[in-house]
Amino acid sequence: MQEFAQQVVGGIAIGGIFASLALALVLIYNAMGLVNFAQGEMAMLATFVALALINRGMSYWIAFPATLVLAFAGGIAIQRLVIRPVERAPVLTLVIITLGLATLINGLAGFIFGYVPRSFPSPFSSDSIDVFGVFISWRDLGVIAVSGLVLLAVYLLLQRTTVGLTMRAAAHHPEASRLLGVQVSWMLALGWGLASAVGAVSGIMVAPILLLEPNMMQSIIIYAFAAAVLGGIESPLGAVVGGILVGLTINLAGAYLPGVGGDLQLAVGLAIIVVVLLVRPTGLFGRAATRRV
C-alpha cells in the first residue's frame, strides 16, 4: 500500500510534466491544425537557457520565470520567422518544417552546450514527508504544484481574459474573427509563444530527473503525444487529464508489470497512442470531426 501510494504520487508528478508538454502541443494544434514536432526540442533549449542563467548566479525562482519569458519570445520569433512565411502551405509541408526545426534546435543545442549530460538543480528538497503513513517526496509535490499552477494560469488566460477569448476565436474561426477585428496572425504568434513557455516548464521540471542533454526530451515528447492523443488532440483539459493518466500508467506499469521497467516504459507510451487511435480516435475529450458536404 505504502509503495503503491508513492507510485501514484510519482505518476501524477511525472504526469504533470507530460501534461505541460501535451498542452503545448494542443495549443498549437488548435491554432493551426498542426502537430509541432519541435515542441520537445524547444523545451530542451529553454532548459539550457535556464541552466545558463542559474550558472551565472541567478536564483532558481528568478531564472524560472525569466526563462519562461524568453521561451515565450522565442516561440513568437519562431512563428514569425519560420512558420508565418509558409502559413498557407499544406499541413504536410508544415509538419516537415517542424521536424526540420526539431533537428535544427537539437543540433544547435549540441553545438553550443555539448552532449555531456549535466545535472540540473531542483528547488525542492529531496526529503519526504509523512502523509498518513505514506512517505511522499517534496520533489514530487513541488513538480505537481508547479505544473498545476502553470496549467491553471493557462486556463485562466484562455477562458477569463479578452486576449484568451480572441486567441480561441482566431484558432477556431479565423475568417469570422478577422471580420471582428481580431488580428489573427498575431494571435497565432501568441499561441506559439504560450506553447513554447508552457513546454519550457516541462523541460525545467524534468531536467533534475533525467539530466540535461540535447536528447533529453525525446522520450518525454512521445509521452506528451500519448497524453495529447488520449485527451483528444484538440482539448486543453484533455491534455492535462491525458498527461496525468499517462504518467500514472507508465509509473505503475514500470513498478508492477514484470519486464516493463526502464526502457520498455516508452513502449507503453506508444501503445497508448496506438490503442487510442484504434479504439477512440477522438480521445477522451475530443469531438468527432463533422464536416458538412
Binding site: R168, E175, L179, L180, G181
Partner: protein, 238 residues
C-alpha cells in the same frame, strides 16, 4: 453620387483568374440603407468581400472619404465597418456571451458598451436567455440575431449584411428586418444590405442597386424600382 460614407468606384474583383466584378460603382449615404440585389452569382457577396479585403480588388473603395486600398481585413473592420458575412460567421465553439464579447472587444468605452448590451438584449431577448449556452445550440434565426447583435456591439459606422433572410422563416425574417430598421434609425449606422429577397429589401432601403454578372444593371430609389413592373420582372423575379 459623392460624399457617401461608402463609395465604390469602378471596382473589379475576382478569385484567382476568375473575375467576378467587372466595374461596380455604388454609394451608401451616411445613415442610409442601401440594398444590393441580383441573382445568385451576380457578385453581391463578392462586393461585400471586396470592401472588407476578403478578396483582391482594383478600382477604388472609399470609406468616410479614406481609401481602403492596401488595408487588411482587420484594419478595415477597425476603421468602423461591421461585416456580417454569408453564413453569419458565428463562432460555434464559443458561447453566445463570448461571441458578443468578440463584438465589443476592441472598445474601451465600457459605460457605452454596457448600454449597447442592454440595447441588443432589448432587441433580441432570446440572446440574453441563452447567454451562457454554446452558440452552436442556437437555431438559424437566433444565430442571425446573434450575428447582428455582435455587429451592433462593434459600434460601426457602416454595417454590411449578407443575406440576413437566408434560410429563415418569414415571420423571423420580418422581425429581424424590423430590428435592422430600428438599429439604423436609433444609432444612425449606415447599412449595405445584400438580399435575394428583393421585396423585403426594397421595403427597408432607400436606394437599391441590381447587379447582373458583375455589373450594376439597374439602380435607383427603392420605391421607384419596386413600382417598375419591367425591372421587377426582368431582374427581381417577383
Amino acid at each position: 453620387m459623392s460624399g457617401g460614407i461608402l463609395e465604390l468606384k469602378d471596382v473589379h474583383a475576382g478569385y484567382g483568374q476568375r473575375a467576378v466584378l467587372h466595374g461596380v460603382s455604388l454609394s451608401v449615404p451616411e445613415g442610409g440603407i442601401v440594398s444590393l440585389l441580383g441573382a445568385n452569382g451576380a457578385g453581391k457577396t463578392t462586393t461585400l468581400r471586396a470592401i472588407t479585403a476578403g478578396v483582391r480588388w482594383s478600382g477604388d473603395i472609399l470609406f468616410a472619404g479614406r481609401s481602403l486600398r492596401r488595408m487588411g481585413t482587420e484594419e478595415v473592420v477597425r476603421s468602423g465597418i461591421a461585416h456580417v458575412p454569408e453564413g453569419r460567421g458565428i463562432c460555434t465553439e464559443l458561447t453566445v456571451d463570448e461571441n458578443l464579447r468578440l463584438g465589443s472587444h476592441l472598445r474601451r468605452d465600457s459605460a457605452e458598451v454596457k448600454k449597447d448590451y442592454d440595447r441588443v438584449f432589448d432587441y433580441f431577448p432570446v440572446l440574453k436567455a441563452r447567454r451562457r449556452l454554446s452558440a452552436s445550440t442556437l437555431s438559424g434565426g437566433e444565430q442571425q440575431m446573434l450575428a447582428i447583435a455582435r455587429a451592433v456591439l462593434m459600434r460601426p459606422k457602416l454595417m454590411l449584411l449578407d443575406e440576413p433572410s437566408l434560410g429563415l422563416a418569414p415571420l423571423v425574417v420580418r422581425a429581424i428586418f424590423e430590428i435592422i430598421r430600428t438599429i439604423n434609425e436609433t444609432s444612425r449606422v449606415a447599412v449595405l444590405l445584400v438580399e435575394q429577397n428583393a421585396r423585403i429589401a426594397l421595403d427597408i432601403s432607400s436606394t437599391a442597386y441590381v447587379l447582373e454578372v458583375g455589373r450594376v444593371a439597374v439602380s435607383g430609389e427603392s420605391a421607384q424600382l419596386r413600382g417598375d413592373e419591367s425591372v421587377r420582372r426582368s431582374y427581381l423575379g417577383y
